[in-house]
Symmetry: C2
Subunit: 218 residues, 2 copies
DNA sequence: CACAGCGAGGACCAAATGGTCCCGGAAAGA
DNA sequence: TCTTTCCGGGACCATTTGGTCCTCGCTGTG
């Protein structure tokens, strides 16, 4: 999945800076529009207009709408993973998880829960009729969970987390709480459910902390 | 929201059995198609064909597509709440929750996680561009959570759950785990994440059980 | 039995939408 | 500089899609 740049051409063509920029502009516009309106509800004309390009450019860079959507899946996946890597790469303590939680909640509260998770919403919309998109999304979720579970592994190795804690399962549970939280918050147009969901997951992880371990609650 | 029957006519017209049946047929077909393809990706012609009716009938019973979709939201909401009432109404013990969990997991495993939750998927697709639908969905989620929290209240009153347990928050957390589980299972085409998510939520609830309370783990 | 109202069927329409094609012009390599 | 390759703009097209409308026949009621 992550074998190439976000803006990668499909065939070996002479690639110019301008071309890359155009492609990027298209993806960026599609990302923006489809976040708000959904994938199928966004037309190529919308994308064309918002990206300040032309029809021929769309079809120059993407074979058809499905290709554009798949590229967008890749694009968003890269964005999310990049962002999450920043917050999770050096995760070594429970308070780090709390900070991570707070950042997500705060970001989502800026728009009162609207729009949800860019990955989650695509997953719901695409999983049942674009196998390739589904599989990319699934891999992205897996990579995202791995960022979390790697952090939990570090915590376990350092003795902060008990040996019987299962980082993979905890990460999956946390991700589900996050996605479910996004969904409920989106339906309610209110971040509260997302907070409750994340807090539940964190509480669950907390129950695996070694009693009075090294670090106090910073 | 729940002020009328699932199949309710919009104006005062002479309503015949046949009319009701037609309306029901349309809703049922829309329900089926939109579960699989999504709301916007399902055309009215698809619905017409699948319901064995005609265009004029669609517009006889529903003002436009949006109305049909909203009716479907109500329809699904009623279906889900009816189903869930069966499983949660007499919830009085932790093992009851486990049974509830098992039923959901089993149902979802029949199609390897595909299609997700009928309510959740609509919430993702509609929340950001149909305020009325969003609000109905939000209310339905609230009612669903209430079925859970009522059960938890009963457990708390009977002494099975500790006094410091917060049934509302626990219910929200459980619902988020369920929805997130549906979402991840759908993306993975595999029920496993849903199981993990629900188990996490149940484990969390379990942590509020009164130690060695009345009933053993049936 | 007659008649008014309702449901069924489907032709029809305008607009939107995905997709094609062609031409002019800008870049990059020789 | 000159040529080839690629980018930009947009006219154009076929199909799909939501939506309208008219007609026929059935049904229930006075």
């Amino acid at each position: 999945m992550a074998d190439e740049q976000v803006a990668a051409p499909s065939k070996q063509r002479r690639i110019t800076q301008r071309g890359i920029a155009t492609r990027e502009r298209i993806l960026e516009a599609a990302n923006r529009l489809m976040s708000v309106r959904g994938v199928t509800a966004t037309t190529l004309d919308d994308v064309r207009e918002a990206s300040q390009t032309s029809k021929s450019q769309l079809y120059h860079h993407f074979a058809d709408k499905q290709e554009l959507v798949r590229a967008l899946v890749k694009y968003r996946g890269a964005l999310v993973l990049q962002r999450e890597r920043g917050g999770l790469e050096r995760l070594r303590s429970f308070s780090g998880l709390v900070r991570w939680r707070n950042a997500l909640v705060q970001a989502n509260s800026l728009n009162n829960g609207k729009y949800g998770c860019g990955l989650g919403s695509m997953a719901v919309e695409l999983s049942d009729h674009d196998e390739q998109a589904r599989s990319m999304l699934s891999e992205t979720f897996a990579a995202w969970e791995k960022l979390i579970s790697d952090g939990l592994h570090r915590m376990r190795d350092s003795g902060a987390l008990r040996k019987d804690a299962d980082p993979e399962k905890l990460a999956t549970g946390l991700m589900a709480a996050l996605q479910g939280g996004y969904l409920l918050a989106n339906a309610a147009h209110n971040v509260a459910p997302m907070e409750v969901a994340l807090d539940m997951a964190l509480e669950h992880i907390k129950s695996f902390l070694v009693e009075s371990s090294g670090e106090p609650t910073r």
